[in-house]
């Protein structure tokens, strides 16, 4: 469970222009600074916004990661819906509140 790391990476990209610049130049070098599961790594690299949503990433973070990859707002919403169709309900984080 390294959801914290996924969210921290996205938080830093959003809040620290230096990290964002390094990510835009060489995303792997930034990704390499964190420990991820293979599933998280795949979702971050692709990016698979829908899977990241299902893994539990907070939308207030995820929207920025989608925007960084050029997603329009409606594409972002649709990607999350597609994620749920493919991978099922949100598994962790605050959106899984009613499941637990």
């Amino acid at each position: 469970m390294s959801l914290y790391n996924v969210q921290k990476l996205i938080y830093q990209l959003n809040r620290d222009p230096k990290v964002r610049q390094r990510f835009e130049a060489d995303s792997e070098s930034v990704i390499a600074e964190f420990e991820f599961t293979d599933e998280e790594l795949g979702a971050l690299r692709k990016p698979d916004i829908g899977l990241l949503y299902v893994l539990g990433v907070n939308g207030q973070l995820l929207m920025h990661y989608a925007a960084l990859h050029g997603y329009e707002w409606n594409e972002y919403l649709e990607a999350m819906r597609e994620g749920v169709r493919q991978h099922g309900k949100v598994r962790a984080g605050v959106y899984a509140m009613l499941e637990s």
Binding site: Y4, Q7, K8, Y11, N14, R15, Y53, N58, G59, Q60, L61, L62, M63, L77, M80, R81, V84, G93, V94, Y95, M97, L98
Partner: protein
């Protein structure tokens, strides 16, 4: 854009609120909000945090998109500190000597103090990630804040900001539960403590979404004005803003 008629009525009620604020001649303005990872993250998530900086910066969002240019907002560090020391007798607030304002604080400020000439003290409540701040602690916090303000020589205005039901940044973004909102606002305006504190997080999440957790800012304001009732100046669901928008004032008993 939002329907101009609806939007203009909303903006107009903000104007009236600004006039009331100016008429009260405050020395400082406390803004109780619920931010979204602008300053606070899961590496150190405070239940309550109170600003204690000389000044604050905002918006963190793209100035063109939000329509507010980069702004330095004056703080009130000495007053902040005295308030914090007082509140801390009952409520364990974190404090912050730096704070970047996101839309949740800068948009109301832009309406209420458009010249940014009123010192501001920001407060954040964790409405974002669980474990969330318990509702009854928000009540205790609101009471402590009121006691602290009353103990100061300065005249201090208090504004709460936050949405009611909304599902921000999720597949349900744009959904608004107007019935739930109106029921909540009825409890809020009439300052019915027991009903305000009876919500569970699960109920709120189910009926009002993740954004509904922001009722904590309303509850804090209701507690600070315990025993008073309010004036709902404006409420309408505005789907393009993805939230019902509320403007309300509370008399101080």
């Amino acid at each position: 854009m939002a329907d101009p008629v609806v939007r203009d009525a909303f903006y107009e009620s903000y104007d009236r609120m600004r006039e009331q604020l100016e008429a009260a001649r405050p020395d400082a303005l406390i803004v109780v909000g619920a931010e979204h990872f602008a300053n606070f993250f899961m590496n150190n998530m405070p239940a309550f945090c109170v600003g204690m900086a000389d000044h604050y910066e905002g918006p963190i969002e793209d100035p063109d998109w939000i329509g507010i240019k980069p702004t330095r907002v004056p703080g009130a560090p000495d007053l902040s500190r005295r308030l914090i020391e007082n509140v801390m007798q009952d409520v364990d607030v974190a404090w912050a000597q730096e704070w970047k304002f996101d839309h949740g604080i800068i948009v109301p400020l832009n309406f209420l103090t458009p010249r940014y000439d009123l010192p501001v003290i920001p407060i954040n409540i964790n409405c974002q990630e669980a474990p969330l701040t318990p509702l009854h602690r928000c009540w205790t916090f609101g009471r402590a804040l009121r006691r602290a303000c009353d103990a100061m020589d300065e005249r201090i205005a208090l504004v709460g900001t936050g949405g009611i039901s909304h599902w921000p940044c999720t597949p349900d973004s744009g959904v608004i539960n107007e019935e739930w909102d109106r029921d909540f606002l009825d409890k809020f305006i009439n300052n019915r403590k027991d009903e305000l504190l009876a919500y569970t997080d699960e109920e709120v999440y189910r009926d009002a979404g993740h954004g509904g957790f922001e009722i904590r800012t309303f509850i804090t304001v209701a507690a600070a004005t315990e025993g008073s009732t309010g004036d709902l100046m404006y409420y309408a669901p505005i789907p393009i803003f993805a939230v019902g928008c509320t403007v309300a004032t509370m008399a101080v008993a």
